[in-house]
Symmetry: C2
Subunit: 142 residues, 2 copies
């Protein structure tokens, strides 16, 4: 067995390396934790999500999501509304302020990622995409 062929290691290593140069953006420039950022991004793509739905999408343990939502709410970036049908559920959604914040941060993140991937040819990008797609199907994500 060689570590360099061990899939979890390879994925973790690559995930770590790609995240490295974007982490600084949400963390230092915008004071968000990784969980908060991931929750924010997910909320930006859906009209509203419950904590449990976020757990699946982020993905993260419910305590992480709970705390991330609490912090984002405190900032006024997120509002929550308990479901009238099932009062255990709480639907979280971005406020206008949260949407603006996202619109400010996302392009910075995108630019950093674009710069990182810039050296790749279109064919290379496709190869990467195909490889990830296989795994996503395996995990029923796609």
């Amino acid at each position: 067995m060689f570590l360099k062929d061990y899939l979890p290691y390879r994925l973790n290593l690559l995930a770590e390396l790609t995240s490295e140069n974007t982490r600084e953006i949400y963390r230092r420039r915008h004071g968000l934790t990784r969980s908060e950022w991931r929750v924010l991004v997910n909320l930006a793509e859906a009209p509203s999500l419950t904590a449990t739905e976020l757990c699946v999408r982020v993905p993260a343990h419910k305590t992480k999501v709970s705390r991330a939502l609490a912090e984002l709410e405190k900032r006024g970036w997120v509002t929550r509304q308990t479901d009238p049908q099932d009062r255990r559920l709480s639907h979280a959604a971005l406020t206008l302020k949260g949407r603006r914040a996202f619109n400010r941060i996302m392009p910075e993140m995108q630019a950093a990622t674009d710069a990182l991937l810039h050296p790749l040819s279109a064919a290379d990008r496709q190869t990467v995409h195909d490889g990830l797609r296989v795994l996503e199907r395996l995990f029923k994500l796609a």
Copy 2:
């Protein structure tokens, strides 16, 4: 921009999901933190490594590596020797006991991963490999 097409997100998600079912093994069954496990694995593949070399390979911040090494040394799985040429450097290596521990844990990890990837055809595996390889080249890892 769609989150599902955003590379860092995709990589992180997949890394997270693949790690999920192996974490229990090193964590609960063998009482290792993720950092300790990753340091252990890397040391299993090289006769000896300095903390800085481990930082690159793991990859992790030096404080994580420092603490992981301290713990592994305390368990008697790792020994360290300061370099006589440059006495700032400390070369870490597995002890026999550490090697035995690795030989006990690794097959469990491998089995869990194999089970996970079992549904994939040979062609799918190749596709995954090719995709990751492109990124590894980008990061000068391969």
